[in-house]
């Protein structure tokens, strides 16, 4: 991502839709990963998946949801982010980044039925 402008991570990135290079939705930004540097906190990756959003629930539900949904999450390094606008655009396809796995699995399962 090029160009310099102030980015309000909470308002413009967190909980926004993630779209891959082909324009297909591949999840929401469920959490952000930071690194501590001398300049302060630097965002290093987007986190997508139950492992990322389950901890954001109130404690009781976090424990229960963790058991149901698991702790799996995908780490999308920040350099894949092309544009932060209406949606967060990435420079690669979802499969190459490990996103949308369950959706493709569901799609393959449904493809067995006629008319899919």
């Amino acid at each position: 991502m090029s160009g310099d402008r102030r980015l309000d991570l909470l308002r413009e990135v967190l909980d926004h839709e993630v779209v891959d290079s082909e324009g297909i939705g591949c999840g929401m930004v469920d959490d952000l990963e930071f690194r501590v540097t001398e300049q302060g906190l630097v965002v290093t990756a987007l986190l997508v998946g139950p492992g990322a959003w389950v901890p954001r629930l109130p404690a009781l539900f976090a424990v229960m949801a963790g058991k149901v949904f698991g702790r799996q999450r995908v780490r999308v390094p920040w350099h894949h982010v092309v544009k932060v606008g209406e949606v967060i655009r990435l420079d690669a396809t979802a499969p190459s980044l490990g996103l949308g796995v369950l959706d493709r699995k569901a799609g393959r399962w449904l493809a067995r039925l006629p008319g899919s």
């Binding site: 909980d15 297909i24 939705g25 954001r56 699995k105 569901a106 799609g107 449904l110 899919s116």
Partner: protein
């Protein structure tokens, strides 16, 4: 297809899809018990659903994103999740009731056993939503619902007292049989408000706009379809109250079953009217079952960022497709437990009004947000109406459960 034809079909579809089993039950009962005195609630609630559907449709046309996509962005994860859970529970309950209603109607037409028909209904819905494109589904059930016009004809044939009818549109202190009746009147007002303003209508309408690929230039079309279509649809609701007041009230019948409603039509129009009424109700209930199931899937997929839409092939929107399939299956399973669809509708209406402020607040905020909508953000009228209704439905939401308990579940 020409713009005029588009608008015309859109209006008819909105009109035919206005009534579902909850509205049917409550309007007939309200008319039977309180005559024309609750007509003003229909008018008030209709304007309310117009306001919110217009907003949601405008958001879809301008930002090409459905409302729920934007709720999580705007309101944050936890509030959006709470809204999702609330909306999904209401959708599931409503879908259950509509499937039960369809099974009852098929039983009235064929005299086949109810349980088997309920299972058949689920299979029917799964096949229809799987194979038909979005516009085909919308049009078929919307236009089929227009058969409900036979209820309007029956109401007119009964020569209603037009003076009294007009007076019913002005809210005033009702004529009551006693203090307990006052509570029942309030309960019916709340229930009627809720059944007209069921949130799935708004969310489905907006997602449908994306499916139909609306553009900012379609904002005007959206307005016409919403205002005219819903106004005409509300006339059906008015006709049901009139039928309740003029046919069922004098005969001391409080209609609970869809078959009872049909008796109000067959009285005037015989067997032809009977079949039209049953078919009209079938299309109306079936349309609602499909809309609530798809609405659940839309909401969930938009909240989670999954690819969604009937515009995509099922295999390209895997989890979205599974979501509506699961909704139908769960609703169908619930009906198989033998639960009475009319009871389910009662609970879904009460629960819906309690969460109504939660489901409508984000719509108002998103449509009014200049950062999101630019020049298409709410004008002063939309904001004034939107906020007034939000206050009204919040008060209604607070009163709903106390009234439900005090009237022994809406019986008096």
């Amino acid at each position: 297809m020409g713009q005029f034809a588009e608008i015309f079909l859109g209006i008819l579809t909105a009109m035919g899809g206005f009534v579902e089993i909850g509205e049917l039950t409550f309007t007939l009962k309200a008319g039977s018990h309180f005559s024309y005195q609750l007509l003003w609630v229909i008018a008030l609630a209709t304007v309310g659903i117009m306001v919110y559907c217009e907003m949601a449709g405008r958001v879809a046309a301008v930002r090409k994103r459905a409302v729920f996509s934007l709720i999580r962005e705007r309101d944050g994860f936890r509030l959006a999740l709470l809204t999702l859970v609330a909306a999904t529970v209401v959708n599931l309950l409503t879908c259950t009731a509509e499937i039960g209603g369809v099974a009852m109607l098929w039983q009235l037409l064929s005299d086949w056993p109810y349980r088997g028909l309920a299972a058949l209904a689920v299979a029917f819905f799964l096949l229809v939503v799987w194979f038909l494109p979005f516009s085909g589904i919308e049009r078929t059930f919307g236009l089929g619902g227009l058969l409900m016009i036979v209820f309007m004809a029956a109401a007119l044939k009964g020569s209603p007292d037009w003076g009294q009818l007009a007076a019913g549109f002005v809210p005033r202190a009702p004529q009551l049989e006693g203090p307990r009746d006052g509570l029942l009147y309030a309960y019916f007002a709340v229930a009627l408000m809720s059944s007209v303003m069921l949130p799935y209508e708004t969310y489905f309408y907006a997602s449908g706009g994306i499916e139909d690929q609306w553009k900012p230039s379609d904002v005007g079309l959206n307005r016409i379809v919403v205002f005219v279509g819903f106004a005409l649809g509300s006339l059906l609701a008015v006709a049901l109250i009139v039928l309740g007041a003029d046919y069922f009230g004098p005969r001391s019948i409080e209609p609970e079953l869809p078959g009872t409603a049909a008796l109000g039509v067959s009285a005037t129009f015989g067997q032809v009217g009977l079949v039209m009424a049953l078919l009209g109700m079938f299309f109306a209930f079936a349309g609602a079952a499909i809309e609530t199931a798809l609405s659940s899937a839309y909401n969930l997929a938009q909240f989670a960022g999954w690819p969604w839409g009937k515009a995509r092939k099922p295999r390209e929107a895997g989890r979205f497709t599974l979501a509506w399939i699961v909704t139908f299956v769960l609703a169908g399973a619930f009906i198989q437990t033998g639960v009475n669809p009319v009871d389910v509708v009662e609970y879904s209406i009460v629960f819906s009004v309690v969460v109504l402020p939660l489901t409508y607040f984000p719509v108002l905020m998103v449509a009014g947000d200049k950062r999101i909508m630019g020049k298409h953000a709410n004008g002063w009228l939309a904001n004034a109406l939107g906020w007034s209704y939000l206050v009204a439905i919040t008060l209604t939401a607070l009163a709903a459960i106390p009234l439900f308990l005090l009237t022994h579940g809406g019986r008096g």
